[in-house]
């Protein structure tokens, strides 16, 4: 995958939840989906995806089910659960607040007294 921005620490889970929210997908598919959505700008360590998926599955935020992939191989498809959907909304709101605040700080011209 092409060079791009390193993702911020702690945001991988949020990205995965978002990707899976668009429809059930297997591991490589999640990666491709994130790559396509970010127009190749986000650089994700491929192997790190799986521990994150397992962690989310253990927390009950995604559910993995075995099925067949496009090349007719057995693959594990991950889907968002109801708690996962709630968590995604929460994290997204938090993220937007953070980005808004960052923008305010970084876009400031002068300090108003």
């Amino acid at each position: 995958m092409s060079d791009g921005a390193q993702i911020l620490p702690g945001t991988l889970d949020l990205l995965i939840l978002k990707a899976v929210s668009l429809g059930p997908e297997h591991g490589y598919g999640v990666l491709q989906r994130l790559n396509a959505l970010s127009r190749g700008e986000l650089q994700i360590e491929q192997g790190a995806l799986y521990p994150a998926l397992y962690r989310l599955e253990r927390q009950g935020l995604v559910r993995g089910e075995w099925g067949s992939s496009e090349n007719n191989r057995k693959a594990k498809f991950y889907a968002l659960t109801a708690p996962g959907r709630a968590r995604l909304a929460e994290e997204r709101a938090a993220w937007e607040r953070l980005v808004g605040a960052m923008d305010l700080v970084l876009g400031a011209k002068a300090v108003a007294r």
């Binding site: 995958m1 297997h26 490589y28 491929q46 192997g47 799986y50 521990p51 191989r73 057995k74 594990k76």
Partner: protein, 853 residues
């Protein structure tokens, strides 16, 4: 069953784990294949595409490890690793593993056996529904004497009016009838009302019960057999139903046989159950005269309410003032005030032994941990946390506990029948069958808990000490033999002192029991036991007496109501000079004193045809008329229902011990003359060995068509002693095991100290110390430890003795021989245990020792 389901769960988890691993590998392989396909699509050669895909992904194993952690398998994996480490380290020191497993295993075997017995008789609920509400009625007579049985009329009245407060109210009595057919023998029966079976509802191998539940009329002469009864009375006939048994001369038809493990509500399993209604109607002479009354409290009724509701029934029945109580009885053995101190002391002894094993195990672990300090220090230096260092050490203890439990289970299974035979030999000798003791799941679980606790505790303390390492000293060497600066050695010393003290306690206990039993053996019965035989005949008559008297080996034959030493002395209410009291009594014929060998001290003995006269024992004469001449004095005795009858004393005979042997000679004894009916039991004195003469006696009985089971009086006494013999054997076994463990501990301590002080010994020898001096030095050290143990152990022993002496006045709690010999024995054995390492120390070659470092 429980073990099976937990095993299944374990397999399920292990299977899921395998699926987890294969799924993870498949996912990663799938990922790599797709990525390689994409790269190929971008124009790379297939081989290069695969290489690049793997490169981008990174090392599989690293991500897999993170996945396992994310999925929550990490603690399980760590535990597995630690377990593997612990098992490996135990395998590497087979000597330690073997000794530790044996130490814990042997003690657990003893504990498991104790648990099994306690479970079978004291803990397991009675085999009935709602056993927790089972009660027995007890009347307390003035003076606190308890009456567990009622006469026929009273028992019937109680059962009849119990319905409102007690469900399934039943009556039951013990009976030893003679079964004449199919094979003549005296048997052991329970005579019960039909409600007894309605409550008990046992499993049947064949047929059914009498009573409502069984659906058979209890007024008919029917009989239900236990498994033992079926084997003994019917020789395990495959078609037992409908067979006839001639019980006390009346034919009873067998209607049911219980399944093998089934019994009644008493520790002794009878051979047969007879319906009370039929027995009272058909066996007017022989049925039991007294009955226990029990049942299940109705819901919401308290024992007090039940007793209050039934008290009026009792009040109308008798002149004596009695209070009624409904006593909850939920297990086979009744709790009794007499048994409680015994049970408690046994419990204490077992706890003490287990503590000795724990101390011993701790000592073993300590030696090992100290030897491994270097290893532990190295791991600590490499950054392992304390918890990380502790875990495998404690797991080792748990593994040892598991192994020991397995060993204990196997040994206990092998030993339980033998121990049962030894402990209950009294009952078995008398032909009684007892509720079998098995190693139950409950006992195994309890022992498993003990094994885990002792196993973990034994390893925890040394592990804590070993992991509190100071890197410098851990990596260096320390400790001297003679200077006493042994560090962990001090803890080991304390453990050994504790073990010696505990084994002193157990051995003194065993010694005291054995000495008291032996003292009881020396009880002067007042008559010569040799040659005396209790004929134990059913319906002896004049013809039999004549036939026996004419037999060549028989010196004399006497009739008596109560055979001396056959049980507790029967008592009778007497009024002497206006004072009421209970006196021991017997009904005997004119040949009794001569046969038993009692001397007539004053007046005369009894003569044929005597009426209204009695002969008393010397001690009775002293008790009743300390100052005056007993001859011609008057006693009013209440025998039967006829009220007091006057008797005149015509003679005084020498004292004898005729009740329980531990009560010694009878405090009081009044001999009444026989009436026109012979009193029932025949006592014989034969020439020569009593046991050798038994076949001839049986033959004489058979000639007269009388069933008899002659028993030498010496055997009756031996049966009485059996519980004491069994108890002292148990105590002795516990004491010996504790002593063995203490010796092992001491041996280990000295061997360890010697091994660590090899260099110092070498220096001393090089400087001119003789081998004898080294040997003496090491042995003296061991003897000092043992002496310290004795010094610590003696005061609690003496305190316990004082307590016992206050509780049980008949007991000789301070026995000089025991208190002198046990400490000496302990010192000698403990010092001997140190001999092998001391010998090794004495043979240290200074050249080798000094070159060692």
């Amino acid at each position: 069953m429980k073990a099976l389901s937990s095993l299944l769960a374990w397999f399920r988890r292990a299977a899921r784990r395998d699926r987890f691993e294969s799924g993870m590998s498949e996912e990663i392989a799938h990922h790599l294949a797709l990525r390689a396909a994409d790269l190929e699509h971008e124009g790379l050669a297939p081989a290069e595409a695969r290489r690049r895909a793997q490169l981008e992904f990174g090392a599989d194993e690293r991500w897999k490890e993170e996945c396992r952690e994310a999925a929550g398998y990490a603690p399980l994996d760590a535990l597995r690793g630690d377990l593997r480490d612990a098992a490996r380290s135990l395998r590497r020191s087979p000597g330690f593993t073997l000794v530790a497993t044996l130490v814990l295993g042997l003690v657990l075997t003893v504990d498991l056996l104790a648990f099994a017995f306690a479970d079978a008789y004291l803990l397991r609920p009675l085999p009935i529904a709602e056993a927790d509400r089972h009660v027995e009625l007890v009347a307390t007579v003035e003076g606190g004497r308890e009456q567990w049985q009622f006469d026929a009329a009273e028992g019937e009245a109680l059962v009849a009016s119990a319905g409102r407060v007690i469900a399934h109210a039943y009556r039951f009595g013990l009976h030893r009838p003679a079964v004449l057919e199919p094979s003549p023998r005296r048997t052991y029966a329970e005579v019960v009302s039909g409600t007894w079976f309605d409550l008990r509802r046992p499993r049947f191998a064949a047929g059914r019960a009498f009573g409502v539940w069984g659906g058979l009329d209890e007024r008919e002469p029917v009989a239900v057999l236990s498994d033992a009864g079926w084997k003994r009375l019917l020789a395990a006939d495959p078609q037992p139903i409908g067979r006839s048994l001639l019980v006390d001369g009346v034919a009873f038809t067998v209607v049911g046989v219980l399944a093998p493990a089934e019994g009644g509500l008493e520790p002794v399993v009878p051979e047969l159950w007879l319906p009370l209604a039929a027995a009272e109607r058909l066996l007017p002479l022989s049925p039991p005269a007294r009955f226990g009354v029990g049942g299940i409290l109705r819901p919401g009724v308290s024992p007090e309410q039940a007793a209050a509701a039934l008290a009026p029934v009792l009040a109308t029945g008798s002149s004596e003032a009695r209070t009624l109580r409904a006593h909850p009885r939920t297990t086979l053995l009744r709790e009794s005030r007499e048994l409680a101190p015994l049970t408690l002391s046994l419990l204490f002894a077992f706890a003490l032994l287990t503590a000795v094993a724990a101390a011993n195990l701790t000592g073993l672990h300590l030696a090992r941990a100290t030897a491994r300090r270097r290893d532990i220090a190295v791991r600590a230096a490499l950054g392992a946390s304390r918890g990380r260092l502790l875990r495998p050490l404690v797991l080792e203890g748990l593994l040892l506990g598991g192994g020991a439990l397995l060993l204990a289970w196997m040994l206990a299974r092998l030993a339980v029948a033998a121990v049962e035979g030894a402990v209950f030999s009294l009952a078995l000798q008398a032909g009684l069958v007892l509720t079998p003791v098995g190693i139950s799941t409950t006992a195994l679980l309890a022992c498993g808990g003990l094994a885990a606790t002792v196993g973990a505790l034994g390893s925890l303390l040394p592990a804590l000490q070993a992991t509190r390492v100071d890197l410098r000293s851990g990596l260096g060497r320390d400790g001297t033999l003679f200077g006493g600066r042994l560090g962990a050695g001090r803890l080991r010393g304390a453990l050994v002192v504790g073990q010696v003290a505990a084994s002193l306690g157990l051995l003194v206990g065993a010694g005291l029991i054995a000495r008291n039993a032996a003292r009881a053996d020396d009880v002067d019965t007042g008559f010569a036991l040799a040659g005396l035989v209790d004929l134990n005949a059913v319906h002896a008559d004049a013809g039999l007496v004549a036939r026996l008297s004419a037999s060549p080996g028989v010196r004399s034959v006497a009739a008596t109501a109560f055979t001396p030493l056959a049980g507790g002395l029967p008592r009778i209410d007497a009024t002497v000079d206006g004072v009421r009291q209970r006196l021991g009594h017997n009904v005997v014929d004119e040949r009794f004193f001569d046969t038993l060998g009692l001397r007539v001290v004053r007046g005369r003995g009894l003569a044929a045809g005597d009426r209204g006269v009695v002969v008393v024992s010397e001690s009775t004469a002293r008790l009743l008329w300390p100052e005056a001449d007993p001859l011609g004095r008057r006693l009013d005795l209440e025998r039967g229902d006829g009220g007091p009858e006057p008797f005149a004393v015509v003679g005084v005979v020498s004292d004898a011990a005729s009740g329980f042997f531990f009560e010694g000679r009878d405090r009081s004894m009044v001999y009444l003359p026989t009436g026109p009916e012979p009193p029932g039991e025949l006592l014989l004195r034969v020439t020569g060995d009593a046991r050798a003469g038994l076949p001839a006696l049986r033959e004489a009985c058979a000639d007269q068509d009388v069933l008899c089971e002659p028993v030498p009086l010496a055997d009756l006494l031996a049966r009485q002693r059996m519980p004491f013999t069994a108890l002292s054997a148990v105590a002795l076994a516990l004491g010996a095991l504790a002593l063995g463990l203490a010796c092992l501990g001491l041996h280990g301590l000295v061997a360890f100290a010697v091994a660590r002080a090899t260099r110092e010994i070498g220096v001393r020898v090089a400087l001119g110390a003789t081998r004898g001096a080294v040997l003496r030095g090491v042995l003296a050290g061991a003897a000092r430890q043992a002496a310290r143990g004795v010094a610590f152990g003696l005061p609690p022993c003496l305190a316990l003795s004082a307590l016992l002496a206050a509780q049980v006045p008949q007991l000789q709690a301070f026995d000089a021989a025991v208190y002198a010999l046990v400490p000496l024995l302990l010192l000698a054995v403990a010092t001997a245990a140190a001999l092998p390492p001391a010998w090794r120390a004495a043979r240290v070659d200074p050249v080798v020792a000094l070159r060692e470092e």
